[in-house]
Each structure stands twice: as C-alpha cells, then as structure tokens.
C-alpha cells in the first residue's frame, strides 16, 4: 500500500457571500485510492476540489495532506496537481513545452527534464506528438497531454475535474478504463470529480455522493448503490422505486404499512418509526403470475413494457396507484408480459430498504 497521498478534510467550509458552497464537510481519502466526488452541478464537488488544489481559500476547516494542514498554502507550493475540465493547455507552448512546464520548479537538470518529459509522453502514448501545438491535437490527445503534464511532477495526489466531460461517449468509455488502469499502476491517489454516476461506479474505489454542499454518503461503489442511506443517494445513483409508509416494529426488520398493504423490510434504517420512505431497485423486484400470494407480494397491471434486448423495462401500476419500475431479465425464465398483462410483484424483504429521513448527520467512510 502506498504510504503517502492521504487527504483528510475536516469541517471544510467555503462561503461565497452568504451562500455556503461547501458546508462543513469531513472526508477521508485513503492513500493510493481512486476517490470520486459525485453529485449534481452546484453540489460543491468542484469547489472542494479547487480548495484541495489551492485555487480557493477555505472559509474555515482543515485540508490535511499526509497529516499536514495545507489549507493556507498557495497552490504553487502544494504537491498536488490538477487535470482541468477543459485541460487549460498553454496554447503558446508545444506538447513537450506543456509537459515540461512544471519541471523547472523541481530543480532537476536539463537532461533529467528531457528524460522525464519523454517518459511522461510515453506513459500516455504521445511520443510522436512532442512538437505539436495543443490546437493541432484532438480532444482525447489534449486530455492525455494534460494528464502527462500533471503526472510528470509525480504528485502525491492527482485532482481530476470532470476530465472526460468534453469527450464523446465512445472515447469516454475507453479513457475510463485507461485512467483506472493508470491509477492502479502508479499508486497515486486520484481525486475525481464527476456528475456521471456510471463513471463514478465503474472507476472508483470509493465514492462520496454530494448534495447542497454536504456529503450525503461515502463508501465503496457497491455500498452507495446497494445500501443508499438517503433518498437523494438512492435517486441519484441509478433508478429506484420509492414507497412511502408507516413503519412499525416487526422482529429483526420493520413492518411498513403502505395504503392497505403491509410489507416487511429488513434493510436500512429499520429502527425508524412513523412515516418513512423505502426504496427498491427495479432489478430486485420479481414478476410472478397474477394471483400469486405471499409475503411482500401485490397485484399490478403492466402499463408499459419496453424490450431492451437483454431485459424488459416494465412500468407496473399497483393497487393504490403507485407506478413501479421493474427490470425483468430476458433469460427465458420470466413469464410472458405485454402491455395490459395482470401480474403479481414480489418485493423481497431483504431488498426493501428503509431510508433515513432527508440528510442525516454526515458519516465518514
């Protein structure tokens, strides 16, 4: 395990006039991990990244880089480097000039500078482009130059501000894999900012889901997807069905009264009482023959059935008026469904998750 490149944010706050863009967040980014801050625009993720880079001065709080508070250190004295959203390559310098820009400040000889520039260009497979100007490169190539320019300085932490945002979908997919591989090889801590949940899930070791300047939940991709602790996280990561009901005690889980029916839920905040929200992912709902009865089952009518090749996406109207989204795998075992088919839905108790009411106190992974 790498021993440096650890970031710890403590009570970090940034106010612009009266608005708190970042509202007292605590986050731990372990050394050598791919850490992603995920959230909609305006959630404070970019401001947090810019505070770690040093472009924004925190209103209060600490930024510990390997246990040293750097919150008041100017950006040119921090051993972290940034890949900017639009790359910010210097248009008047060629690729080699861009990549070598920061080496001047590392007190290494001209020969070593040349060697490191060549190595960095080799790392991103751009050796043949050293004499090109940024304007003569494609978007993907510019992105690699930006990456090489930051990595050549061997930073303890690499900050990436939506670096794939400006690329087309096909290129994005390829670069997602490349970035993740590169990070694993180099063992440098990557702090990645994105609003794309799929990107966050596929690349990260750890994800912090942010909203309104606060961290809603932090954890591994599986944790935040499968065990969302708030309505926001459940909704932002993938598709989810939300049920509102009255919770009461029931053995090791809780009983959720939704309209005329009672469901058992064994996941999440099952100790909550009173009105709560519960969620279930579309792929966890089972579609059964109409008339099947039993625990956590209810009848419904298929309103829409969309064939997606490997699965069907169903919109099922259940008694009581709720519309549930169901993903049914096309594996040959399901019952035939089409629009207007009456079915029974099974919401397994171990997939039904009770959510804490709105934002809970911030928990750190």
């Amino acid at each position: 395990m790498p021993t440096h490149g650890e970031i710890q944010l403590e009570e970090l706050t940034k106010r612009f006039a009266d608005v708190a863009a970042v509202d007292g967040i605590d986050l731990h980014m372990p050394p050598g991990e791919f850490f992603t801050m995920l959230g909609p625009s305006g959630c404070g993720k970019t401001t947090t990244l810019r505070m770690i880079a040093g472009f924004q001065r925190p209103t209060s709080g600490k930024i510990l880089l390997d246990e040293v508070d750097v919150a008041q250190v100017p950006p040119h004295k921090r051993n972290v480097n940034t890949v900017f959203q639009n790359y910010a390559l210097f248009p008047h310098l060629d690729v080699a000039g861009n990549v070598g820009f920061g080496l001047k400040y590392l007190r290494c000889t001209k020969d070593e500078q040349r060697k490191r520039v060549a190595e960095a260009l080799d790392l991103v497979q751009l050796c043949d482009f050293a004499r090109r100007k940024p304007a003569q490169l494609s978007g993907g190539q510019q992105q690699r130059v930006a990456l090489a320019r930051a990595l050549v300085l061997r930073p303890r932490v690499l900050l990436l501000d939506e670096p794939l945002g400006a690329l087309d979908a096909r290129l994005r997919k390829g670069l997602q894999v490349e970035l993740k591989t590169l990070q694993a090889e180099l063992g440098i801590t990557f702090v990645f900012v994105t609003h794309d949940q799929e990107e966050a899930l596929t690349m990260s070791d750890r994800v912090a889901v942010m909203n309104g300047g606060r961290v809603e939940q932090a954890g591994t991709p599986r944790e935040v997807y499968e065990e969302p602790s708030t309505v926001f996280v459940a909704d932002f990561l993938g598709v989810s069905n939300l049920l509102t009901g009255e919770a009461s005690a029931d053995g090791d889980g809780c009983a959720l009264r939704v309209g005329e029916r009672t469901f058992r839920a064994r996941q999440g905040a099952t100790s909550e009482r009173g009105e709560v929200k519960a969620m279930i992912r579309p792929e966890r709902i089972a579609v059964e023959e109409h008339g099947t009865v039993g625990e956590n089952r209810m009848p419904g009518l298929v309103e829409r059935a969309v064939f997606l090749g490997n699965s069907f996406e169903l919109h099922v109207r259940v008694v009581g008026g709720d519309l549930l989204k169901v993903t049914m795998p096309n594996d040959g075992t399901g019952i035939p469904v089409e629009e207007g088919t009456a079915v029974a839905l099974h919401l397994p108790a171990e997939a039904l998750r009770v959510l804490a009411p709105s934002s809970p106190p911030v928990e750190v992974a």
Binding site: A53, G54, F55, P74, P75, H76, K77, N81, T82, F84, N86, A88, L89, F90, P91, H92, F101, G102, K104, Y105, L106, R149, A150, L153
Partner: protein, 285 residues
C-alpha cells in the same frame, strides 16, 4: 422607378446608394489632397502634371524644408516616447484591474473609460493648467506633450489588453500555479505570451493616436521645436499653402494606416476569437 427601389426581393438599393454616397463623400477629398501632393506645380487646386518634387525636391520639399522635417521628426519622437511609456503602464494597470475584485473595482473600471469619452479640448485645457500652475518645473514642451499623450492613450491600452484578459480567463494562470509557478512566473511565462497580440495591437493604436493628435499636443507645446505635423498643417494650411503640406499629410496618413493595419492583422491572426473590444478600439481610431 419607385417599384425598382422598393422591390422587397431585390437588393436594398436605397441603402446601397446612401452608403456609396457617404463613402465617396468621405474619401474623395482625402484622395484629392493626396493627389495634389504629387502636383508638379505650386498650385493645390490646378493639376500641372505628376512629380515627386514636394517629397524629394531640392527646395521646399518634405525632405529639404527644415520646418517640415523638424515637425516629422518631433511627431515620430513623441509617438515613440508615448508608446514606450503608455504600453507597459497600461498592461500593468489592466492586469491589476483584472485581479481587483473588491469594493471600488467597479467605479475604477468605469473611470478608466472616462478619457475615451472626455472631449479632448477639456483634457487639453486641464493639462495646460496642470503644467502651468501645479508642476511649473515640468513646463510646456516635449515632456508635457508626452505626459499628456500618455494620459489619454493609456485607456486604449487598458481596454484592449483587458478585453483579451477576459477572453483568456483565469484557467491558464491556475494551471501555471498548479504546476508550481510562483505568481511572477505565472505572468511572465504564461500571461504575457498570451497577451502579446493585444500588446502589439495596443502599441500600434497608441502610435497612431499620437501621430494624429492635435488638441492636447498643441496645448502643451513649447517653442517651435515642439511643433508636430498636425500642428504645422493647422498653422500653415491657410497662411502659406504649398503641396509640400499635402505631401507631409500623406506621409502621416500612410504611417497611421500602416500601423493600424498591422494592429488589426496581428490581433486577428494571433488572438483568435474573442476580444471584440480590441478590434472595436482599433476601428474607432
């Protein structure tokens, strides 16, 4: 006839006519003035054949009349001094104003534009009083003229350079800082190279403004040695006219046009998109 003019599917002929008439009205007198710079005779109204005598002839020509020569030299000297002082000062001001985002920055920004709209005669009178009463040690003459020209050309430099700064944005400085460059290197290694087109363009604009200036330069002039081309043209146009005046006016016009063309070319070629303020400022001159 009316139908031909009003045909909504045809070309806008009425508009074209007005535009054409204006262009002829504004260019023809200048053209005639230039033409008579090449007149073989002394007349400025009757064409007597083509000649370069008013440029290079042995008597009374631009290159042999001491008064004309002195005026041309002084004009170029003043322009050079003004460029050398106004451009670095203006670039510094532009950089400073761009960073200054606190209280008062808005009003200072507006005040930087005031010299662009202040009637020149007002500024001329004000500067005259300043040099006579407040700084009599400077007195009138070349120094006062240079200071006066710097005063009113500075705003053009600030406007052109700031226009470019706005279109560059802060990201390049941030990238430089991120890579370890201390603040002075962020400016020297990144900002100044990116600003180069705007700096060259503003230098050309200042040069052209200085060569053409009459009011401020006239007010702040001292003895005959501080007479510039526009002053000479004004003083002698009605008194002792000769085609040599047309010749020197032609030279001044050519220098101005060449400088502005250079400014326009450099800016368009190297600054890419954005910075319309600079182009507008160049065109305004």
């Amino acid at each position: 006839m009316i139908a031909w003019l009003r045909n909504p599917w045809g070309r806008p002929r009425a508009l074209a006519f007005v535009t054409g008439a204006y262009i002829i009205w504004s260019i023809v007198p200048v053209g005639i003035a230039i033409l008579f710079a090449f007149n073989a005779g002394r007349s400025r109204t009757t064409w007597q054949g083509f000649s370069f005598r008013w440029f290079t002839g042995s008597t009374g020509s631009v290159f042999h009349d001491p008064a004309l020569q002195s005026a041309l030299k002084h004009t170029l000297l003043l322009a050079a001094i003004t460029v050398v002082i106004a451009v670095p000062l203006g670039v510094t001001l532009a950089l400073g104003l761009q960073r200054w985002r606190g209280r008062g920055s808005g009003s200072v920004n507006t005040m930087m534009l005031l010299p662009l709209v202040t009637p020149e005669i007002v500024m001329g009178v004000a500067l005259l009083l300043l040099f006579l009463k407040v700084f009599p040690s400077i007195g009138l003459g070349t120094k006062a003229q240079a200071i006066g020209q710097v005063t009113f050309t500075l705003s053009y430099v600030v406007v052109i350079v700031r226009g470019r700064l706005v279109s560059i944005g802060r990201e390049y400085e941030e990238a430089a800082a991120d890579l370890g460059a201390p603040p002075h290197d962020q400016i020297l290694r990144v900002l100044l190279p990116l600003l180069a087109p705007a700096i060259v363009a503003s230098a050309a604009v200042v040069f052209a403004l200085s060569i053409d200036d009459f009011v401020v330069t006239q007010y702040l002039s001292g003895d005959a040695s501080t007479t510039t081309v526009p002053m000479l043209l004004y003083a002698t146009a009605r008194g002792a006219p000769s085609p040599a005046l047309n010749a020197i006016a032609t030279i001044a016009l050519l220098i101005t046009l060449a400088t502005l063309a250079l400014a326009f070319f450099v800016y368009k070629r190297f600054a890419g998109g954005g910075g319309d303020a600079a182009v507008a400022a160049i065109m305004e001159v």
